[in-house]
Amino acid sequence: MASFLRQFFSRRVRALMRKEFNQIKRDRRLAISLILPPTLQLLLFGSALSADVTNLRLGIVDDSRTPESRELIGVLTESKSFRLAGYFFSSAELGTSINHGDLDAGIVIPFDYSRNLQRGRVTTVQVLLNAMNANTAAIGQGYVEGVIQAYNNQLREMIPAARGRPGEPSSTALPDISGSTVTTEMISIQGAHQAQAAPVLLHPAFLYNPGLKDSWFIVTGVFGLLLILNSSLVASGAMVKEREAGTIEQLLMSPASTSEIIIAKVMPLFFLLCGMAVIAIVVIKVGFGAPFHGNILLVLGGAALCVLSGISIGTVISTFSRSAQQALMTSFFVNPPLATLSGAFNPVEAMPKWLQPLTLVNPIYHFATIVRGNLLKGSGLTDLWPHFLGLLAITLVLFSLSMWRFRKQLV
């Protein structure tokens, strides 16, 4: 450790670092490109990407045309989830409209809907959902079933009032959406039907994000994505520049060792990128109002490790490329899979089983878990240490690889 530190602060490293700092200082475009685009991207991704299921366009075929059927429509469209998009005369018309992509869902109310309700018979309503998007379909289906269930409970509460006089028609008031009441003739339910509450009443409670804000999940994932993409891009650019200019031979001929050259190259970038991470944290806090439940130092530590692993990805790419163009091209091979196999946009559990283990070698996955765990849930080091370890391991392996490749890059 002592020898490492001595090497770290040796005069050679300091001299090389000064050179790098001067180069960065004179390159104003680099500094700007490290601050402006990431901030914009974070804002853009956080606001544009949302899996929310609201305002599904609902088309209706109402063959019953009675107060009861209108009430059902009212119950369904009063929530934010569905928006009334139009009435249709036949289910064929409704089908065509869904087929043309003008509707997301449709409901067909049969002609005998209110008659069946009044006679206490079961009546079936058909719901058509455009299930192209699996997520929208699953959540939409949940909404419809939940709403109908609540409506049924409400209807059942009306029934006992009529139960006293079997066979006789009685007036039952069904509350409607506007607050006024619609009086309906309702015949009591005969036979074994008993009005009672459902046996099991499930009460979901949403912890950590009771408002169910989508942006918190996306923003914390995109944070890691931006750190990795930007730091690998900047690092490979800086390393490849020496090679393109041909100055790398001079560096290799100097008394500085490979590790010293790489450390000196990396440190200034590291500080610069850490500044970027701090800005991103501010954006997450101010722009998206994410809660900061945990210890912010853990996030900063994770960000530092994440930046380092990003830089190490960049240095490895640069040792395999001869020009800035080739380095960029290689990053086209590396970055897209890195981004999708990260769980930045979707939960890892939603990936197929054979891809899930790959996320373990992805620094974005580890960092996203740290940020989400710490900021949103307040997890501490006892919960998150495996992910810190993962980041560290990735960084060390990649740096060793680039040191090993560094001397060999002169052909």
Binding site: L72, V127, N133, A134, F345, P347, A350, T369
Partner: protein
Amino acid sequence: MRRVIAQTRKELTQIIRDWRTLTLALVLPLILLVLNGSAISLTASDLPIIVQDFDDSTTSREFVDAFRASITFHVVQWATDKQPEYAFTSGEAYAALIIPANFGRDILRDSGSHVQMLIDASDANTAKLVAAYSGQITRAYNRQTADVMQFQPVQTSIRLWYNPGRSSKKFYGPGIFVLGISMFPPLLAALAMAKEGEQQTILQVFVSNVSASEFLLGKIIAFVVVALAECILGMVLLFTYFGVGLAGDPSAFIVATVLYAFCVASFGTMVGAAIPHQAAAMQAVALGGFLLVFLLSGLLFPIENIPAGLRWLSRFVWGRYYIEIVRDALLQGGGWPATWYKVLIIGVIGSVFYGLAWRTMRRMELKY
């Protein structure tokens, strides 16, 4: 015409001779299609949940079995005396089902029992899914245990159209397919065009008898060929691995594909003509081809969720229309009546790109 074809041939030969560009053109899009098409999915299955059963009766175990039987959840062991929050902070579970004491007795007495489901909502979408699925399981359980007693006046019969298995692959596969075509052919086109500017070989074109439009057309046709080749390979993959098929009349889709290939090839050529540096041109294409299509075309999430201040931008994103056409052709089968104006828009945007590329070429000629 002969000059156009000669230009196209030269361009294609250059692509085939450079293995890096060739893999970029044909292999990488396929790898990405398989990888991203299957990795991107929002509907998680096999989510770990914990159960705290304070009743531990036959009835409560039956209820837990209903959760255990679903493919959405799997129950992980958790001691009853440990706080469920620890399972969330350590990331071991997504939800906790808490069954109160006397659950079984209350059920038998018909008085109803209140069960709590704590859900980790740090991922809002998964939380909503968990709530929806657990609600469905509970309703099914209720129906089963109290089928005669429970009277449900209104029943729903839900039909899921176009993707009845709710498979994410079928939705995201076509989207990623479009993303690949929006990214790689224009990238290659931009690189080829910028290279002419960087190496000054464009001067030879200026002094030859090739006109600006002939030169551009030759280049664009070459990259249209690349895009179509990529398209055919991608379609093979979509038909086999992703299990989608042509849902209806494919003529609109075929016309749109050719127009879209023209559109992206013109886009790349335009960028390459405007920015005669390969690295910078590559970044511009990454911005236009990747970021815009990724963010503003409804690839991952519905366009309606984009805030209104940004949503109007998506009207200009060429990928958006093609994604809708591909999804229509492969899943919905609406054909011409559903997509004619989208095909038209792609053609218009493509012509605009071509016009801009032509103008830049003419200006460039004056500059030298």
